[in-house]
């Protein structure tokens, strides 16, 4: 295995780490949007979850309790969104944005009040975070050429990375192979038909948003107690919006969404390695140009290769039973 092969494996490794929160958040968005509820509040829910995870992990020393707290907080925020948008037919973009602004302010404020460290939580020790998991046989296979190196890279991530990887087929299965999934897709396309069939539109959307909360919570927890070690103000840094972009990019389908997340993450990993690199004939590329790369690529791909993004038909429209 040549040096370039190793480099590629390392890049893939970095891609997986960066993509994990995006994948979880994008799948969360998929549940909401497929049911017909716009979810621009992914960012805020992730932020709330990452704070809850870090705060609880700090106090209890257990990452699992932190994870539970993150999921509960994120589900609670999803329910706020659901009450505003589904029960009271509020504007879904406004409600989502409100969640973002609320959490951007509330999380550092609570952190300040509870931990007095200027809007951060204390740094977490090794026991209070999700540690890398070494998969079985990773060491035994290590001497095997190619396979050993590849399996060595698959092994050694934290539990949330594997959960994210498994959640993609799981979500696809739920969406395309279960009764709930069929109804979910229907309610996002044609809620009248669903209602006529005697199924509660609001009930379905509530359940979709509960699933949304769980996944968003996992995504937020990844940032503060798995990849990072503590909550910092605005630590999501636009990942919620990026996940939403990936969802649209992936045309609201699980597998293409996963690929979109991986693409975003790969360009991110690429730009970290391209900085200061000297290309033959071009010389060193300015940092700014490289950092713009993921965005340029996104625009090019969206404009040229993806084609028309077909949103669920009923998205953004509150369902009113009788006019």
């Amino acid at each position: 295995m040549g040096e370039n092969g190793v480099l590629l494996l390392l890049m893939i490794d970095a891609t997986v780490r960066v993509a994990t929160p995006l994948v979880l958040a994008a799948l969360a968005g998929l549940f909401a949007e497929r049911s017909g509820v716009v979810d621009i509040g992914l960012e805020g829910k992730m932020l709330g979850a990452s704070f809850a995870a870090a705060a609880v992990a700090t106090v209890t020393g257990s990452p699992w309790l932190g994870l539970v707290a993150a999921v509960l907080v994120s589900m609670a925020l999803s329910m706020v969104h659901a009450v505003a948008c589904v029960t009271y037919n509020g504007n879904q973009v406004v409600s989502g944005m409100a969640l973002n602004i609320l959490m951007a302010g509330l999380a550092p404020t609570l952190a300040f009040a509870w931990f007095s460290q200027g809007g951060q939580t204390p740094m977490l020790g090794p026991g209070a975070r999700f540690a890398p998991i070494v998969l079985p046989f990773a060491e035994a296979l290590a001497p095997v050429p190619v396979l050993g190196a590849i399996y060595g890279r698959i092994s050694g991530h934290n539990v949330l990375v594997y959960i994210a990887a498994l959640s993609v087929p799981l979500v696809a299965f739920v969406l395309y192979r279960t009764r709930f999934g069929l109804r979910l897709r229907a309610v996002g396309e044609n809620p009248q038909a669903v209602d006529t069939a005697g199924i509660s539109v609001a009930g379905l959307r509530y359940r979709a948003l509960l699933c949304n909360g769980v996944l968003c919570g996992l995504s937020g927890a990844y940032l503060s107690i798995a990849h990072g070690a503590g909550f910092v103000r605005d630590m999501t840094a636009g990942k919620g919006y990026l996940a939403l972009a990936a969802l649209i990019f992936g045309k609201w389908r699980p597998l293409p969404t996963l690929l979109a997340c991986l693409l975003f993450a790969f360009t991110d990993a690429l730009q970290a390695r391209l900085q200061g690199a000297v290309l033959p004939g071009l010389g060193a590329i300015p940092v700014q140009a490289i950092q713009a790369l993921p965005y340029v690529l996104t625009v090019l791909l969206l404009a040229g290769f993806v084609g028309k993004a077909m949103a669920p038909k009923a998205i953004g429209i509150p369902y009113v039973k009788e006019r």
Binding site: A14, D234, M235, V287, Q291
Partner: protein, 337 residues
């Protein structure tokens, strides 16, 4: 009746006078501090300023006012509010305050302003600059002396000449020890948000460790916390910045490039109180003991006596002028690679 009313009025007036008098007295000396993005507890740059101000509070018994900037537009407001509400001396942390301070300092010619890491050429502004390249040179030497792979890394915060000066000094130090050494250099971003993105910092550090670096120097405010964490997680070494960060991960932080922001803040407050505060530009380096490298119980085991001596000898050479460390900001270029 009239006399009673007059009496009451007089009493009210007297009370007002007393309140005003007390107010005027409180206004005699009010120090104020405006932090940079990244927050007071970034364990690095801002925290150094905070500890300087806390020391002043403890020594003098005078409390100070403070504000943490969380977005760019707040800088000018914060400076103006501090000045308007009667601050005697306002210390602004970070180069980005230079532009708003240019405006605010003109509006309040009687208020003393001190800016750290920036230059504002006005009579009532004291600009404090540091020779970060000198401190970075020393930690660069130590990195090259300690590295087993001959490859070391640097993660900067926002891509600005100041951070390039850190990187350039570091490179010069590395190359002075090992001319063949490779230095990986990454900047986190081009906006002030780059000071507060530990996730990205950790990812950049990992990319450098992946390429064979075994020591990474973080000059990135709170973003650096992610760098230090990544080094700890991977069993590698890191170098902290601004504050002494050795205690964050004992045994994993090789050393810290300490910058005397705390001393600068303390002195600005103390001098203003004593009436010896002067405007103008100060450029502080190793000779003034304003920058340096940190050696304490937490990293004692990582630094051999031999390496310690080499670094301290280089420090003496820089102070005496025998070794010249080039400042990136002087010509916007770096002699080392």
């Amino acid at each position: 009746m009239i006399t009673r009313r007059q009496g009451a009025l007089a009493a009210v007036a007297a009370a007002c006078m007393m309140v005003l008098g007390a107010g005027a007295q409180a206004q005699e000396f009010v120090p104020a501090l405006v932090f940079d993005m990244g927050g007071k507890f970034d364990k690095s740059f801002n925290e150094a300023a905070y500890s300087g101000a806390q020391k002043f509070k403890k020594d003098s018994g005078v409390d100070y006012r403070e504000f943490e900037v969380t977005n760019e537009t707040q800088r000018e407001q914060a400076l103006r509010n501090m000045a308007r509400r009667g601050a005697t001396v306002v210390v602004a942390i970070g180069f980005a305050h230079a532009t708003p301070l240019q405006v605010v300092a003109k509006e309040f010619p009687n208020v003393k302003f001190t800016i750290i890491d920036g230059v504002v050429d006005l009579p009532n502004v004291q600009s404090v600059l540091f020779k970060e390249q000198e401190g970075s040179y020393l930690v660069g030497m130590l990195a090259a002396l300690t590295s087993k792979t001959g490859k070391v890394g640097f993660v900067g915060g926002m891509d600005i000449p100041l951070i390039r000066a850190f990187a350039c000094g570091y490179r010069q130090g590395v190359v002075a020890v090992n001319p063949k050494a490779e230095v990986f250099e990454n900047m986190t971003g081009t906006t002030p948000a780059a000071w507060n993105d530990p996730t990205k910092g950790g990812e950049l550090a990992r990319s450098q460790f992946d390429r064979g670096a075994d020591i990474v120097y973080a000059a990135a405010g709170a973003t650096g916390l992610g760098v230090l964490q990544a080094a700890k997680d991977l069993g590698k070494l890191s170098i902290g910045v601004d504050s002494n960060q050795n205690h964050l991960h004992p045994g994993s932080v090789l050393t810290s490039m300490v910058k005397g922001v705390d001393v600068a803040v303390y002195n600005a407050f103390k001098d203003a109180k004593a009436g010896t505060w002067k405007g103008g530009i100060q450029n502080l380096g190793l000779a003034e003991k304003a920058v340096g490298w940190a050696l304490d119980d937490n990293n004692r085991k990582l630094v051999s006596a031999e390496n310690e001596k080499k670094v301290n000898d280089a420090m003496a050479d820089i102070v005496s002028g025998k070794v010249k460390v080039v400042d990136y900001r002087a010509g916007n270029s770096c002699p080392a690679k």
